[in-house]
């Protein structure tokens, strides 16, 4: 059994790991649709988006390994950490649900990532800015596509609208975590590495508000619940997705194809 690694604990490494893990885990969840999407075109679209996200995760994890100075590569960081050391917000690890659930989550996250990448292009870290310059173009396509589907489902049949509304109710209480700050954000912002996550909130609410209005959805009441994935405290679903992702590297250390 391959031993686990301990990632860097400094704020810059943690800030980049949060982004890298967001792309990695969301990419893995979207990839679960491969062969299962309702139509062939959508199967292709979802796997395309997953591929972009995994590519972004690779670049970010590679960079996080370099910042930490611990010499970890992208594979070690992707496959050999313990659950508590994964720093994605809980929203992206939730099981994929039905198509409406996945589409709405993709719209939430593509919008969030687009706003994040736009700001990261001005990062004081030139490598992070370069990754963002590439990824922002991809996120725009993801957002466009996911938002098209949200409107189509919300303004579609009774059944599709019902499912979208149910997805919104289930997902909404996980969104405050996308705009919560802590010492990692404060330090990243102070050093010009990237924005505090809370800085994305106003723009995100404006774009998602317009989307949900077009989709004729009703916003759920705000809840006091706060998820904590980006602090490493995950939902019960995280262990299962990591088991699936890590199995090969744990069982066959260093295995490549």
């Amino acid at each position: 059994m391959q031993a686990s690694i301990q990632p860097g604990r400094d704020a810059a490494t943690q800030y980049v790991l949060r982004l890298g893990d967001t792309c990695l885990i969301l990419g893995q969840r979207i990839a679960e649709w491969c062969g299962h999407a309702p139509i062939l075109e959508e199967d292709i679209a979802l796997t395309n988006m997953s591929l972009d996200l995994i590519g972004q995760a690779r670049a970010l994890l590679t960079h996080a390994g370099q910042i930490s100075g611990l010499g970890h590569d992208e594979d070690q960081l992707a496959f050999l950490r313990e659950e508590r050391d994964y720093l994605n917000p809980t929203l992206v690890e939730l099981p994929r649900g039905d198509f409406a659930f996945s589409v709405l989550r993709n719209a939430f996250m593509a919008t969030w990532l687009k706003l994040m990448w736009q700001r990261l292009q001005a990062s004081s870290d030139t490598e992070l800015a370069a990754i963002a310059g590439k990824a922002v173009k991809e996120a725009r396509y993801h957002q466009q596509h996911a938002c098209d589907w949200v409107v189509r489902l919300g303004d579609g049949t009774d059944e599709s609208a019902r499912r979208l509304q149910a997805a919104l109710t289930a997902l909404w209480r996980y969104t405050p975590e996308l705009f919560s700050d802590d010492a990692v954000d404060e330090q990243a912002a102070a050093r010009g590495l990237g924005p505090k996550w809370s800085e994305l909130q106003a723009d995100w609410r404006a774009e998602i508000g317009a989307l949900l209005a077009a989709a004729r959805c009703e916003l759920p009441a705000e809840s006091a619940f706060r998820s904590t994935g980006r602090q490493g405290v995950h939902s019960e679903h995280m262990g299962y997705i990591l088991t699936e992702m890590q199995y090969l590297q744990r069982a066959f250390p260093g295995g490549v194809w």
Binding site: E41, A45, N48, D52, R58, K134, Y141
Partner: protein, 176 residues
């Protein structure tokens, strides 16, 4: 904007660019890595050649294969030791595809990309409106009566359309 021009024939590195012009993109076999604008620079160092490439998409599975094919081609042509450097910034854009590359795409049956919208924040627009607000011409019959089937196609860089005149489906190289 910012298209790289291969050096004029007769200059020292022109033969290297010529060889690179024969290395095809593994997923769009009509185009070479030079046509696509992936080759940003070729440098001659004391210890060999350095070829600077810019990757297209973050997750493009062809990136590593392209790197290998470039090195193989340069080695086979007898240019001696060479290495490939990946340059991420500025990010690759379809605006770097050469005029010749666009012609080759069209001949291959793929509608070439239009210019990238310089406005950074592409406004959100929902179903029913074509991305650029203008119709795409069918690469086979030239008709403007076309519609998008899917924003994503067989590879990350393409989307899927169909022509309502000749009834043929076709791919479009997405502007990015």
């Amino acid at each position: 904007m910012n298209q790289v021009q291969a050096p004029a024939a007769g200059t020292a590195l022109a033969p290297v660019w010529q060889v690179l012009g024969t290395v095809l993109d593994p997923e769009v076999l009509a185009l070479s890595v030079v046509d696509l604008g992936l080759v940003r620079e070729v440098l001659r160092h004391d210890d060999g050649l350095e070829i600077v490439l810019t990757p297209t998409y973050s997750g493009c599975p062809a990136t590593e294969l392209i790197e290998r094919n470039v090195l193989d081609a340069v080695a086979a042509a007898g240019f001696g030791p060479a290495r490939v450097t990946m340059r991420r910034a500025p990010a690759w854009t379809t605006d770097w595809i050469s005029e010749e590359g666009r012609r080759k795409l069209l001949d291959y049956g793929i509608a070439p990309p239009g210019p990238v919208d310089p406005a950074d924040g592409v406004p959100m627009h929902f179903v029913g409106r074509s991305p650029s607000g203008q119709r795409l011409a069918c690469p086979r019959c030239g008709s403007l009566q076309t519609e998008r089937l899917s924003a994503f196609g067989s590879t990350a860089c393409k989307s899927l359309y169909r022509c309502l005149s000749c009834r043929e489906p076709f791919e479009h190289f997405k502007p990015i």
